[in-house]
């Protein structure tokens, strides 16, 4: 468990170091995600890597544990709304309407693009 968490933190740390060092416009944890994915894929190819947290579902179980409580981790930032009560009183309704409309538009446009392209691919795949 500790070794698995350590591996996750090491991936994040490596991501942060590279992002800061090279001034990349990418968040560190996202690069950490890429590193962990590459490690898992490399383990399947090279048996020598399958040790410590990379065996017996170690890092897999730790990750599932973290992701099971993903919602909780947004609560502290969300409570930050208490610092913005004057802004909420002044523009709250307009902001809520703008955000809600943008979310609905984004959901519909994204889902439509995904479905159209995947149908085009199926049709293209069936063609001789």
């Amino acid at each position: 468990m500790i070794a698995s968490l350590c591996l996750i933190l090491l991936c994040q740390l490596a991501g942060e170091v590279i992002v800061r060092g090279l001034g990349l416009p990418v968040p560190g944890p996202v690069l950490g995600l890429v590193f962990l994915l590459l490690l898992l894929l490399a383990r399947d190819r090279f048996a020598a890597l399958a040790r410590g947290p990379l065996q017996q579902d170690g890092v897999e179980n730790a990750s599932r544990g973290l992701l099971a409580h993903l919602s909780l981790m947004f609560v502290p930032a969300g409570v930050g709304v208490v610092q913005k009560l004057d802004l909420v009183a002044e523009h709250g309704i307009a902001i809520a309407v703008v955000l809600a409309t943008s979310v609905v538009v984004t959901l519909l446009v994204t889902v439509a693009t995904f479905l159209v392209v995947s149908r085009l691919m199926v049709r293209g795949g069936n063609a001789p």
Binding site: P27, L36, L66, P76, G80, I95, S118, M121
Partner: protein, 240 residues
């Protein structure tokens, strides 16, 4: 034995222990209610935890800084949880690789729509320039959005609130909206909510369907990359 319960409160209200406990306790209760209502969209645990804790802080006159000293331990886990998204992605790598083209198309179109729609709507609503800039990165996960907001000289704490509200709205709307539209492809549903509503949408997607959760996680990570590049460009083109 202390005869003054007020001095105990003064001590506890300044300690991280109290605010960490409050955060976990309120979330545990709201999450149990969400489970008891079969994960009903309106019983979103993030939303209810947020206003209950917020009201408690206002009523007790506690500053957000004091609260955050305790809650930061939970907030910190957002980074490791982002790294952990590699695992569902690894486990569903075949499904993900098979859908690479629809994903890339939906990623580009979806992140452009998320940014452009919010900037145009906010300008049409006559919101001040500082607010428009702070809302622009609202569809990416909190840490990333706050970084973008900072680089635009906007207000990162307002951005964080916009991000959370967007996530909650997306998580509440997605299931009824998609079901009403008759969309049964859980890859597409998950991917859309990951683009529009980042981690809160992804958490919701994992509750509804494992495949939807995986695609939401992929969408959220890719969107963090694309939006960091697109927002500065969109702001230069669209904001007066």
């Amino acid at each position: 034995m202390s005869g003054n319960p007020f001095s105990l409160w003064v001590y506890l209200s300044q300690s991280p222990l109290l605010w960490l406990t409050v955060t976990l306790l309120v979330y545990a209760i709201t999450d149990a209610i969400s489970l008891a209502t079969h994960r009903h969209a309106l019983a979103n645990p993030v939303f209810h935890s947020m206003w209950i804790i917020g009201a408690f802080l206002v009523l007790t006159g506690t500053s957000y800084t004091t609260y955050f000293a305790g809650a930061q331990f939970v907030h910190f886990l957002l980074g490791p949880a982002t790294v952990a998204l590699a695992v569902p992605l690894y486990e569903n790598r075949k499904a993900a690789a098979a859908a690479i083209l629809p994903m890339l198309a939906a990623l580009v179109v979806g992140s452009v729509t998320a940014i452009v729609s919010v900037v145009l709507l906010a300008e049409a609503a006559g919101l001040p320039r500082a607010v428009v800039l702070s809302l622009a990165p609202k569809s990416v996960t909190a840490g990333v959005a706050m970084g973008i907001s900072e680089s635009l000289h906007a207000d990162p704490s307002l951005t964080a609130v916009a991000v959370i509200l967007t996530g909650i709205m997306g998580a509440m709307i997605v299931t009824p909206l998609m079901s009403r539209m008759g969309i049964r492809d859980f890859r597409a549903r998950g991917f859309a909510v990951g683009i529009a509503a980042h981690g809160i949408g992804t958490a919701r997607a994992f509750q509804v369907d494992a495949v939807a959760g995986v695609f939401a996680g992929i969408a959220m990570s890719l969107n963090a990359l694309v939006t960091s590049l697109l927002v500065p460009l969109a702001v230069t083109l669209l904001v007066r």
